[in-house]
Symmetry: C2
Subunit: 195 residues, 2 copies
């Protein structure tokens, strides 16, 4: 997707599987195979129309619409996320903020009031929240996830360092920064002695 | 790894591939196959010694030591990371902070002074920094990465939403929260109409 947005920015109208392969650090055959899963794209010898490909991929990914998001946990990570411009520009609209800190409850971030967890179910239900960003300490993460699921949310981006137990129809995407640092250490270690 | 730490906490001395498979949401055969890549572990019929397995895996992963880390970018994400207790407890010691904001330069986070980017090479070199957490805006990320690489760092955890160009011997781990939200949207969309 990022490659396609770069390409659109560059003014190119079509792109070949070879070009996409270079940008995606894969092979042209793999690009054609991956895209063929989603139906018929592109014309042999002519390549793919950049704009059409981008629109169809955005539709397949479910990112061609606005998603209503609630932020549960208004700490440092929550605050960094709330101010992250890319979320809104990509169609993720934060419509509710929840935190248990009495000093935060009732205050506002931009125009959004911070609510107590007591209101979680009614707030998320009445606003039609679809996705939750869970940025709370591990010890309360499962309880907050359970209550969000009961309120009818459809997916969770989880920053708490625990494996959430949720019904199979609620996908969870875990953000685990320690594991990413460990993956980096592993890659450095694998590299062997300094060149 | 997390499963093993849970097990150690539970006081269990050995663990079977079946138990590890359940915890890892995979199969016992896959667990045995994965572990066999790293040499000979465990005894047929007896399972794996939890403590030995954990130590050997930590060594393989390169996480049985302290890594010296520099934080480049002392904004909201940088500040959330700096205060994230899991980093230090897992062996990642922040030894330098760099930011270009004149109001931040010279101030301290805990006992660490925030330095100007001018000092980047000498600071990282003299402190023996091995890993960099890059939490700066996209427009300056490549320049900061180049300078960190010149200073001899070995790996980058990158929060900037660009694909860094670095020498092949410097692994980069990208943290892309928008892509994780999009993966979540995709999973929700794939699920089809509400049950």
């Amino acid at each position: 997707m990022r490659s396609l947005e770069d390409l659109e920015g560059s003014g190119a109208e079509t792109v070949s599987s070879e070009e996409l392969a270079i940008r995606g650090q894969t092979t042209a055959a793999q690009v054609r195979k991956d895209l063929s899963h989603f139906g018929s794209f592109g014309k042999r010898g002519l390549g793919y129309n950049v704009d059409e490909l981008r629109h169809r991929l955005r539709h397949i990914l479910g990112v061609d619409r606005v998603w209503k998001v609630a932020l549960i946990g208004a700490g440092r990570i929550g605050s960094a996320l709330f101010e992250y411009p890319a979320f809104e520009s990509r169609g993720y609209e934060c419509v509710a903020i929840i935190d248990s800190d009495p000093e935060k409850i009732g205050s506002r971030w931009s125009s959004l009031e911070i609510h107590a967890p007591d209101d979680l179910e009614s707030l998320l239900g009445s606003l039609g929240v679809e996705l939750v960003i869970l940025a709370v300490p591990a010890r309360v993460a499962q309880e907050m996830a359970d209550r969000a699921v009961n309120a009818g949310i459809q997916g969770i981006l989880n920053f708490a360092p625990i494996r959430l137990k949720v019904p199979v129809h609620v996908p969870v995407e875990d953000v685990n920064l320690v594991m990413q640092l460990e993956a980096l250490s592993f890659a450095v270690t694998q590299r062997g002695p300094d060149l």
